[in-house]
């Protein structure tokens, strides 16, 4: 088939490339703890959620309908970001060393304005003066909206794999 006959696929490929570039850029901002620059990419109508995962006998992917770790709107997410400006935010003094690996990026649907995308996220975390490290693993369901030459995050649903967390706290954004 000629390239000219595959315009739809090419368009999707370009969208996927843009989304991938954005997610990698976003991961870089969070890994370097440029939280305010990251927050610039949060939409005013953000829904940022991380439900509590449940361990059930018959279903692999089960999440609480009521319980969650995060259920943030713009104001409460902004407060969480600003908190780390305080010299008393001991959880991140010194900052957690993180590396985010964003993979399995799949465009679920898109139009001119928005893109729905899922990805897998693996975060390496280490803290303090120690060799200890751990990981968070999650699948994310995002809705991104085009803004200027980039995207803003309108919805993020973080489906963590852990039911019992192995870190002292969750003081990073996923």
């Amino acid at each position: 088939m000629k390239l000219s006959e595959r315009e739809d696929e090419i368009e999707e490929l370009l969208v996927e490339r843009e989304v991938r570039q954005f997610l990698n850029y976003e991961a870089e901002l969070l890994d370097s703890r440029k939280l305010h620059e990251w927050f610039d990419h949060i939409a005013d109508d953000i829904s940022y959620r991380m439900p509590r995962r449940l361990m059930r006998e018959n279903t692999a992917e089960s999440f609480s309908e009521k319980g969650y770790y995060f259920n943030e709107d713009y104001g409460s997410l902004e407060a969480r970001v600003k908190r780390f400006d305080s010299e008393y935010a001991w959880a991140e003094r010194p900052p957690t060393r993180t590396e985010r690996y964003v993979t399995n990026v799949v465009i679920q649907e898109y139009d001119e304005e928005t893109v729905k995308v899922t990805d897998n996220l693996l975060i390496y975390l280490s803290r303090g003066d120690s060799e200890e490290h751990t990981f968070y693993s999650a699948k994310r369901h995002d809705t991104l909206r085009r803004r200027d030459d980039s995207f803003e995050i309108v919805e993020r649903d973080i489906r963590l794999n852990q039911t019992v967390l192995s870190t002292d706290n969750v003081s990073i954004f996923l």
Partner: protein, 465 residues
């Protein structure tokens, strides 16, 4: 050194620590010690009333949740007849686990190994080929094993794996006067929202026990970020011993609560007027309890050995939104000398409008639990204490931690003689007697004595001795 000598060394260390408590000291190395961890499991956790869960977590017949006491795993389950049971999760044949989910609903638990099956009240219901293979085996003697003692107070279920000992009612004693305020204030009581948060912290359980037994002093410092952001009011998060609030530290039958409030004002922990007017009731409370609830802004507290609670007003998740209260209960389960699993539940009045319950749960998660703006900053501090306790230096230097705040030569601490509630009410929150009381009970139980031996010795105020 022979094992016996080791044991006597530990006994002497314990006795020394008890003596040091009278001077407001406690050894750092006790916060990370293998031998003490083993003793704590045997003499405290196997002898105490340990919190299991709230009835509202398993509302329907067959609802269950896996729960733990020390190293032991149980199934917290409501039977077909509606009774609450706590069953040891181990098949009577070969000991395999019969419950494979954290929470769920089932009429039966079936062992995966050989198919022995149990009803949700623990009774053995089926053993494959029983008539041929186990014809003389008495089914009634082979049900899942119930915990020896299981009791409920205001929907809160506690268990003890000791066959004998004080009843739950005796264990809680007059402290119920204070906890009644939390559970009975709203008509219909409180209920748990969602499932508990669980996370493992590399810290000794006594660090958080200290914190919940009256550490008003840490709030403004450890949680200064919350104050900086105005996510909590000055009187909720501000420095202990400052401001216009009425601050009390209360010790009652071995349990403690810290309270901040405003004398003579209608505060009700900043519950909105419609909740106070439509839902709050004097029915289960005395006039004195009602007055405490009315003037209260916030409560923190601990029930010995490993249950804590926070019922706070004047907090928010966003400085541009209205403040609201939250209510959390939690337990800390030691899983090693330097590790514990935290369990944290968010609660709300059962009969409140859904929108308000949602708001309370939101405020809870914004402030406490693993993602809480307060609690994020506690855990690394407790981990730090535990890290520093493990080496040779604390022991070789006999490093003693300081719990002297409120002792008579440190400050002019006094009792509130007008206080209407049971126990001792200290008229300020700059004192650490609740922690000393915790460690004193810890000592008595480790020494093999009754916990009550520690009660009523008001060592906070020497004149009274």
């Amino acid at each position: 050194m022979a094992a016996d000598d080791n044991h006597s060394v530990l006994e002497q260390d314990l006795q020394d620590a008890r003596d040091a408590l009278d001077e407001g000291h406690f050894p750092l190395d006790f916060f990370n010690n293998d031998e003490l961890h083993e003793l704590e499991k045997e003499r405290i956790f196997a002898q105490s009333w340990v919190f299991i869960g709230h009835e509202s977590e398993i509302p329907e017949p067959g609802d269950y949740a896996r729960r733990y006491i020390g190293d032991d795993t149980f199934i917290f389950v409501r039977s077909e007849s509606g009774e609450i049971n706590l069953l040891f999760d181990s098949c009577r044949h070969r000991g395999a686990k019969v419950c494979r989910a954290e929470q769920g609903n089932t009429s039966h638990f079936r062992c995966p190994y050989h198919g022995w099956t149990y009803k949700n009240d623990g009774e053995a219901a089926g053993m494959p080929q029983k008539s041929k293979a186990f014809k003389e085996l008495d089914r009634e003697d082979h049900g899942l094993v119930h915990v020896p003692r299981l009791e409920t107070y205001e929907g809160l279920v506690f268990a003890s794996i000791a066959e004998e000992g004080p009843t739950l009612d005796e264990w809680l004693g007059d402290f119920k006067w204070y906890f009644d305020i939390h559970m009975k204030l709203p008509e219909g009581g409180m209920e748990v929202i969602g499932e508990p948060h669980r996370w493992v912290i590399d810290a000794n359980w006594k660090t958080i026990a200290d914190n919940f037994n009256g550490d008003s002093y840490h709030t403004a410092w450890a949680h200064g970020s919350v104050l900086d952001l105005e996510l909590g009011g000055e009187e909720t998060v501000g420095h202990a011993g400052t401001g216009d609030s009425m601050d009390r530290h209360i010790h009652c039958d071995g349990h403690t609560t810290s309270m901040r409030g405003f004398e003579g004002e209608d505060v009700f922990m900043t519950y909105p007027d419609e909740i106070v007017e439509d839902l709050f009731t004097k029915e289960g409370l005395s006039e004195e309890q009602w007055q405490v609830a009315r003037q209260a802004l916030s409560f923190t507290g601990g029930i010995f050995p490993n249950f804590g609670f926070l019922h706070f007003g004047d907090t928010t998740d966003d400085p541009n939104k209205d403040v609201a209260p939250f209510f959390t209960i939690r337990k800390w389960r030691p899983v090693g000398p330097n590790q514990m699993e935290l369990w944290s539940w968010g609660l709300a009045p059962k009969n409140a409008p859904q929108e308000f319950k949602d708001r309370m749960y939101k405020i809870y998660t914004s402030n406490f639990g693993p993602t809480g703006n307060f609690e994020q900053d506690d855990a690394p501090i407790w981990k730090g204490i535990t890290d520093m306790a493990k080496g040779q230096f604390p022991k070789s230097q006999n490093l003693q931690l300081n719990y002297q705040m409120g002792l008579d030569w440190m400050s002019d601490m006094s009792l509130d003689e007008e206080w209407d509630g049971p126990g001792f009410a200290y008229s300020e929150n700059l004192e650490e007697g609740g922690m000393r009381l915790f460690h004193e009970q810890w000592y008595e139980m480790l020494a093999g004595n009754a916990r009550e031996d520690a009660l009523g010795t008001s060592m906070n105020i020497r004149e009274e001795q």
